[in-house]
Symmetry: C2
Subunit: 204 residues, 2 copies
DNA sequence: GCTGGCTGACTGACCGGTTAGACTATCCGC
DNA sequence: GCGGATAGTCTAACCGGTCAGTCAGCCAGC
């Protein structure tokens, strides 16, 4: 599977605006944030946003591209560090479950992406690219794990998709918890257990 | 666990408006739909919506309440019809995976609920109520399954939550598929397999 | 003729996008 | 080194469209 890149280009002021936008989208949602507000928080004039991104849609799309590429990169780095297949799964999930606040921000943004993806070509492509990258990473870990006799699955691609579903499903559940801050750790461990169980790993 | 009811009251004209609203929310998303548009599709004047629901937020909330209670009811009915624990799981998933169009409509609405729930008390309560109802239904099936020696799980509540996560996670995945219409059946079977495997059911 | 369900023109706020131009930096010809 | 042309960055006032919610009053049935 060819791994398309997520990030096109990004100058310093663009990244500054993107970071600010990301914070506000996580906090209030795409349609509840006005360009005026982003500009104020970024301490620039509103005009500059349109100067750099032309439209609000472009800004939102760029922000999502940026976030997703950061996440993909962090997962990739975690996989390199760990040695055993189980270790890679654990390391990966430790990275994915970074902190309550950042997870909340990320998943709320991600949900908006999915919602947009179902109605817009541009967001649909972004979602597809991200999924293929992440599923590719998962598949690689699973493939090695199967080769080394640590995991037992029928089809690697199928298993990668299910692993993703377990992770996303539990995140979706966690998002809706009243005590999401306190429950973060518990959900992380729960997810590790569920994924490793699914992959048929030897206990431990 | 006390099962709170979802539906307060609903007159005939209200239900008519709610159905129309549901169709449009699934199609375009909450914030992309104007009251004017809902009124036009329902073939009533715009004023009547505000007359019955007072605010747009009330209308959206009522719509989600209505949809969720319908879904919960349908699941409940499916569980009554089937006999064996595995049969109940399959029947339940057949009902949940009703059709591509209705699932798409429902999950897009559900995602909006989750997004709203994280920022609004009122939507948060609705989401919590629905979750507790559905998780309760799942838990009951699992409990009986365990008693009859068909399922092997440590904690029933924990298992109910994971089952939910698997279902929601695969739906989230499915939503993002380009060929979601064609892939619906495959995802349904995949979900059945994943859930039954998770519950440690005897093969078959 | 009165009441209550119902209407739809209207209002005011909001917001994405435009535009005219200010300010600075770089470079060129003299 | 200097005047000025050019380009790039940035600002603030403004425009036009959209939309939730209001309100004055209509009208059918009692």
């Amino acid at each position: 599977m060819a791994e398309a890149s997520l990030l096109p280009e990004s100058s310093a002021p663009k990244v500054h605006l993107i970071r600010t936008t990301y914070a506000l989208i996580g906090e209030k949602g795409v349609h509840r944030v006005a360009l005026e507000e982003i500009a104020a928080k970024a301490e620039v004039s509103k005009g500059i946003i349109l100067y750099y991104f032309k439209t609000k849609e472009n800004l939102v799309l760029s922000t999502m591209e940026w976030v997703l590429s950061e996440v993909a990169e962090r997962i990739r780095a975690a996989l390199v560090r760990a040695r055993t297949p189980e270790g890679k799964i654990r390391a990966m999930l430790n990275v994915i479950f970074a902190s309550p606040e950042s997870n909340r921000q990320f998943y709320l943004t991600y949900l908006e992406l999915v919602a947009h993806a179902s109605r817009s070509q541009r967001f649909g492509r972004l979602s597809a690219t991200f999924r293929s990258i992440v599923n590719g990473l998962y598949a690689e870990v699973i493939r090695v794990g199967v080769e080394e006799g640590r995991f037992k699955v029928d089809r690697v691609d199928e298993a990668a998709l299910s692993v993703r579903a377990i992770i996303d499903g539990l995140f979706l559940e966690w998002l809706q918890e009243d005590g999401w801050e306190k429950l973060h750790r518990r959900y992380r461990e729960r997810t590790k257990a569920a994924v490793l169980t699914y992959l048929g790993a030897a206990a431990g």
